[in-house]
């Protein structure tokens, strides 16, 4: 009987995360990486708390955002992203903690005195002013000479490709065009930091995916630090150099998209950032060079090729990304890292297929495989008994 083991794209996984429309591998922006390595911090959030009455919206958040970075704040609805952003812009005052912008304490500075600008989720364009006047508004407040204003407005409209619409009022523009007016207006003053609150939420899917890359392009060209709030994991992966994951007012993990995907520090991050199979288990062997974990849901023990530092945890969770699992009709020989199950469902997506395998222990495992050959008939089908296996170095162990 032939061995129909189909491995996921294990080797490529070091650089490209699936699920992201156009994930940016580390180092694909040479300038950005270089810049970041030696960049000074531009925003320092130091133990900031914000409460509304008895409700804690932002809970002891500390963050450092570096110059020139495209930083994303990612989290579910109501987790406090907007509140944190509004504190950076100066519309909310922290209940406790300090906010430093460009090395200066700006915790109590009014919005109109801060060197940051914000792009609002609703765009907040001035309805009674033309596109041109909208973009010029901030420059007028600085009493810039007229000629310089005209020059800057032209440059900004060029940047967002809205020059033909300069004389229009906002309500005569499409959603995408309004979004670009808002961007041009908030960039016109060359802020040290641009804050963007769900900048793409109002656009449809196609336009959103295109605009994500456009925004990245614009950010690279102008070199401004961007802080983007989003609740869309793919969007954060596509755009950001680093991502902070928020949950109920707290920052759970801050890292590059790659590190968040491959080295999540909690179950929450593993589940929030991409798809994952999670199994609860007990540590049975805990050596510096390997771990052995027994999971109730899995028939065989799990062998992990590294130790963990947090020894006091007897209960751990193993997180397995679907593309790092393999399905096969032959029984593996190894004593660990595999289980048996029945194919319950197959989701065919063209480039990849996802097998939903009901393991003998009752848990569901999702396995993604690449459909590399056009002519190969699928060998595994519904209700087949299959073996799910994984390599020791592809297991992520989290303790909380």
């Amino acid at each position: 009987m032939p061995d129909h083991t189909v491995w996921g794209q294990c080797d490529m996984m070091e650089t490209v995360a699936p699920g992201a429309a156009a994930a940016r591998p580390e180092g694909s922006r040479p300038g950005a990486v270089l810049r970041r390595a030696e960049a000074r911090p531009i925003i320092e959030i130091d133990d900031v708390v914000k409460t509304f009455g008895a409700f804690v919206a932002v809970d002891h958040v500390s963050l450092t955002i570096r110059e020139g970075e495209l930083f994303a704040l990612l989290g579910g609805s109501g987790c406090g992203k907007t509140t944190l952003l509004r504190m950076l812009a100066g519309f909310e005052r922290p209940t406790a903690g300090r906010i430093l912008i460009g090395g200066q304490d700006m915790t109590d500075t009014a919005p109109y005195d801060r060197p940051v600008n914000m792009m609002f989720q609703s765009y907040a364009l001035f309805p009674h002013m033309t596109v041109e006047a909208n973009v010029a508004f901030g420059l007028r407040q600085d009493r810039m000479p007229r000629a310089a204003i005209r020059e800057r407005v032209r440059e900004m409209l060029d940047l967002v490709e809205l020059t033909p619409f300069a004389k229009r009022k906002p309500h005569h523009l499409s959603g995408g065009q309004r979004q670009r007016v808002a961007l041009a207006r908030s960039l016109a003053k060359h802020p040290k930091v641009l804050l963007l609150d769900e900048p793409l939420a109002a656009l449809d899917k196609k336009l959103r995916e295109r605009t994500q890359l456009e925004l990245v392009g614009i950010q690279e060209r102008v070199g401004t630090t961007f802080v983007v709030v989003t609740h869309d994991q793919e969007e954060a992966m596509t755009m950001a150099d680093r991502v902070a994951i928020m949950d109920s007012g707290r920052i759970i993990q801050v890292d590059t998209p790659h590190a968040l995907y491959e080295y999540p520090n909690t179950r929450f991050v593993a589940e929030f950032f991409g798809t994952v199979n999670l199994f609860e288990g007990q540590l049975v062997e805990d050596e510096p060079d390997h771990l052995l974990i027994r999971c109730d849901a899995l028939a065989n023990p799990v062998y992990v090729g590294h130790g963990i530092s947090a020894r006091e945890h007897a209960t751990v969770w193993i997180a397995l990304r679907p593309e790092k699992l393999a399905v096969s009709t032959t029984r593996p020989d190894a004593p660990h890292n595999w289980d048996r199950g029945i194919v319950e469902d197959i989701v065919y997506l063209g480039g990849i297929s996802t097998y939903h395998v009901r393991l003998d222990g009752g848990a569901l495992a999702r396995v993604t495989t690449q459909n590399l050959e056009r002519m190969s008939a699928p060998e595994i089908t519904w209700d087949d008994v299959v073996y799910v296996s994984w390599r020791p170095d592809n297991v992520v162990v989290v303790t909380s």
Partner: protein
């Protein structure tokens, strides 16, 4: 062919007749040649001529216009401030009481409003010596009081519908709060301010009861002249005056509607 239901069109016709027939009749008889109000004696503009030679009537009209313009303007300013407090200051102690007191004049019987204002003015005069006697000033104060309520309601609903972040965006771009309000919020409120002003203007022009309470000897308003002369019998001259007033009211309403309509269109 199916018979069209006749009920709705006839109800509509009846309603319109009920509402507008008296006004049409009035307009028609203002062009009457005859001195008798109810007998048609041919077309003539002579009552309009007589109206414009009636010194007392003209003077009263000027007084009324002055009162209406001033109190509408004052009410627009005060009403807007009241609306701002109601919408923007969130919850504060006594907010409910404040809301109630702002809107009370809307439902208060005019006789009560007039009487209480009269009592206020009289006791102010005896204790503070101001206002000395009653006249145009006291009518303006009285009209401003109840018109403020109308403006507050109109502006409040508009302000509540505005996106707060537009003003925040202005501040974010460097405008101080006062400037952001004047340059951004006020233009967006303009339609409400215009319709609030026009509403106050017509209410003030129209008011007889409250004005009668707080008027002095030298401050007879147009409605007061009309009312007292009608008691001696309706003349075609009054018809002519009424026709002009209807014209003013119609133009005012059309302007207000046009302003609101343009704004609605702009929002889309």
């Amino acid at each position: 062919m199916r018979a069209r239901p006749l009920f709705l069109p006839s109800a509509l016709a009846l309603g319109l007749t009920f509402l507008y027939a008296p006004i049409l009749l009035l307009v028609l008889f203002s062009f009457n040649e005859s001195r008798l109000v109810t007998v048609w004696g041919g077309f003539s503009l002579k009552w309009y001529g007589a109206l414009f030679r009636n010194e007392q009537m003209l003077e009263a009209a000027l007084v009324s216009l002055r009162i209406a313009t001033t109190s509408a303007t004052l009410a627009t300013v005060l009403g807007t401030l009241a609306a701002l407090i109601l919408v923007r200051f969130g919850r504060f102690r006594g907010r409910l009481l404040f809301t109630g007191m702002i809107t009370a004049p809307l439902v208060m019987p005019e006789v009560i409003t007039g009487l209480s204002l009269l009592l206020l003015f009289v006791s102010l005069e005896t204790t503070l010596g101001w206002p000395s006697g009653r006249g145009v000033d006291t009518i303006i104060i009285a009209h401003t009081t109840f018109c403020t309520a109308y403006v507050a309601v109109v502006v409040q609903s508009r302000l509540g519908g505005l996106d707060r972040s537009v003003e925040e965006a202005a501040m974010d771009l460097g405008a101080r709060p006062l400037k952001a309000f004047l340059v951004i919020t006020l233009p967006m409120l303009a339609p409400a301010l215009v319709s609030g002003w026009l509403l106050s203007f017509t209410l003030s022009l129209d008011d007889l009861v409250i004005a009668s309470f707080v008027a002095g000897p030298a401050s007879t308003t147009l409605p007061m002249v009309v009312f007292s002369s009608v008691r001696l019998g309706v003349t075609p001259e009054i018809n002519a005056l009424a026709t002009l007033l209807v014209l003013v009211a119609t133009v005012t309403i059309l302007v207000a509607a046009a302003v609101l309509w343009r704004q609605e269109r702009g929002q889309r």
